[in-house]
């Protein structure tokens, strides 16, 4: 599935080899990646990967790089050059796909097999308890009376309910793949296994060895096992489903490229499940990521950098690396401050001009669409029989009126830089849809005037399909106050911060309905 949030590759590696060294490395890389993503273009990629790979782009002001001969070259370059970043991106994509296909399938099938085996064991155990005495010592068994046979029915029905309940909770198709194992499920499986094993132990020692004749007692034992399994299932429901429903944390999700922010209330979840919930909400709430809207700020940033070049005249190896980086960055900042900056002026007039242009195009578009819609009229049933000629179905009607509005729509989309989000085919489909459902021109235009959520567009426009969870805390640990983690996509990332919902102390005040009384307050002026 495309929306799988996993690349077991990264957390896989971190879990497996390298141990503590890896942990330190990860947090440093994570730190660096955050500072880098803020300053560079969205096309370049930071890899939370083995430090042997060279790091691209600007020198970070943390000054952590080792001074080397090529350092001067990369510092002054304008970031976001397409060749470098694209090729790096492709490599990343390919390696991710490879690891994905091998690692994930194995894990999934393995856990599925385990679950099925455990399920079978649990289901067949009571039946075995009931059947074994009949098979091993049939002659010694006491006859099963009415009460005992009544218990058979109860065992049968409880097993049926257990079967349905376990299927409903555990064996449905998963919506997503998570990087680490689901801790609660694993714990529950271990609990059930221990439980069943202990019952078998008791059965084996006390009943099989001594060949107990009291069949009613054996049946009651089997019934008690099924009851206990139902209670464990109840515990599973509470742990897996109910516990996270009560909101306990409020998370703030910010997109790193344009700062769009939303807040969600989540219950007590592990970080990976919280990430899953956030991604599902992302597709519904956040407007689609449009890289074309960010070009203006990037070009401004590029102009800033291009204005200053810093040369290292003392030669490499003279000062300590960190000291050099500090002094250079300080020199750049000082020079930038001294230079008389009229960029704000440009920005202001440019934005005002753009606003005006957008409004003009929008007015033309609205008028064109309204006019186009007046050419179409829905035919009633009786009229259809009377005038069979020139009758069109919605698609043909859409194709008929589309040319009159196509040009103004095209121009508007170009001005607002949305033209790559909509294809001609999709626009015509949408038009046919609106005509069929008696929508007004305004309703038709709504999806073009405001950028909608990501789900509204076709999959190829999402630019947000492969997610990586980057977190300093372990992803199976629960959400805590102040937890911060990142959900990285190739083009942008979502920064998530957590806050606890405060404890609310509500008190009551009773107001007697008869206590609402009023007086007239006058302010009169009398002349004397």
């Amino acid at each position: 599935m495309d929306t799988e949030s996993t690349y077991s590759g990264y957390s896989y590696y971190s879990g497996r080899s390298r141990g503590s060294h890896r942990h330190g490395e990860r947090s440093r890389d994570h730190h660096k990646s955050r500072s880098k993503d803020g300053s560079r273009s969205e096309k370049s990629v930071t890899i939370n990967a083995p430090p042997a790979e060279p790091l691209l782009g600007d020198s970070s002001v943390l000054g952590e790089e080792v001074q080397d001969d090529n350092w001067g070259e990369t510092t002054t370059a304008v970031t976001g050059t397409s060749e470098h970043s694209l090729s790096q991106e492709d490599i990343v994509r390919i390696t991710k796909d490879l690891e994905d296909s091998v690692g994930l399938d194995c894990r999934r099938y393995f856990s599925l097999t385990l679950a099925v085996v455990l399920g079978l064991l649990v289901f067949l155990t009571p039946l075995a308890f009931l059947a074994l005495p009949h098979l091993l010592w049939p002659d010694k068994l006491l006859v099963c009376g009415t009460a005992c046979e009544g218990l058979f029915i109860s065992v049968a029905f409880k097993l049926l309910i257990l079967l349905l309940a376990v299927w409903a909770l555990f064996f449905r198709a998963p919506r997503a793949g998570l990087p680490r194992v689901f801790v609660f499920r694993a714990l529950l499986a271990v609990l059930v296994l221990l439980f069943v094993v202990s019952y078998w132990l008791f059965y084996g020692v006390r009943i099989l060895d001594s060949q107990d004749e009291n069949y009613q007692g054996i049946v009651q034992y089997a019934v008690s096992l099924v009851d206990a399994l139902l209670f464990i299932h109840y515990l599973a429901i509470v742990l897996l489903e109910l516990r996270q429903l009560q909101p306990a944390f409020s998370v703030c999700v910010t997109r790193s490229t344009d700062g769009e922010t939303r807040h969600y209330n989540l219950g007590q979840l592990s970080i990976q499940r919280a990430a899953l919930a956030i991604i599902e909400n992302y597709y519904r709430d956040f407007s689609v990521h449009n890289p074309a809207l960010l070009t203006a700020s990037k070009s401004r940033a590029a102009k800033h950098l291009a204005g200053l070049k810093v040369y290292n005249v003392d030669g490499p190896g003279n000062n300590a690396a960190t000291g050099l980086a500090h002094s250079q960055s300080r020199a750049m900042i000082a020079a930038a401050a001294r230079r008389r900056d009229t960029n704000h002026n440009e920005l202001y007039y440019e934005e005002a001009e753009h606003e005006r242009r957008v409004r003009k195009r929008k007015a033309r578009l609205v008028v064109a669409v309204e006019e186009a819609f007046t050419h179409i009229k829905r035919m009633q049933e009786e009229e259809q029989k009377k005038a069979p000629g020139d009758v069109m179905d919605p698609r043909e009607a859409a194709q008929a009126i589309f040319p009159s509005m196509a040009r103004s729509l095209q121009k508007y989309l170009r001005t607002t830089r949305q033209q790559h989000c909509h294809s001609m085919e999709s626009i015509q489909q949408h038009l046919a849809f609106c005509i069929t459902n008696n929508m007004t021109p305004k309703a038709f235009l709504e999806s073009y005037l405001n950028p909608g959520p990501t789900l509204q567009y076709g999959r190829e426009r999402w630019l947000a399909r492969q997610w990586t969870l980057v977190s300093e805390a372990s992803v199976t640990s629960g959400l805590k106050e102040g937890a911060i983690f990142l959900l990285k996509c190739i083009d942008f990332s979502l920064v998530v911060t957590t806050k606890r919902i405060p404890y609310i102390q509500l008190s009551e005040e009773f107001i007697d309905p008869k206590s609402h009384k009023f007086v007239l307050r006058l302010q009169s002026e009398t002349s004397v």
């Binding site: 307050r521 006058l522 302010q523 009169s524 002026e525 009398t526 002349s527 004397v528």
Partner: protein
Amino acid sequence: MSFIPGQPVTAVVQRIEIRKLRQGEHLILGFSIGGGIDQDPGQNPFSEDKSDKGIYVTRVTPEGPAEVAGLMMGDKVMQVNGWDMTMVTHDQARKRLTKKNEDVVRLLVASLLCNASPFVQTEFAI
């Protein structure tokens, strides 16, 4: 000019004597009053303390007897002809000022403005 109930009020006051003018069959003084214990003190623009329910001069007609006598807008009327004006209703105040058988009213006013010369410093016990 705020007062604490039960304590004497200390104010800087001046005596103003106004001679009523005859206009038709009415005797007029040439100013308007506002305030009173039955009115809303919060809407009084002239009082310092917005819970002061005294009688204030809200308007003085130009060239009228009050202006000639030196009454200013915003003054608080403390006494009229010896009758107390700090704890009266609006209507009672009006009646005290417009008695038909009186030609002259002698007011004791406390002025907001600092240039009011302090003729008398009087203590009132409420």
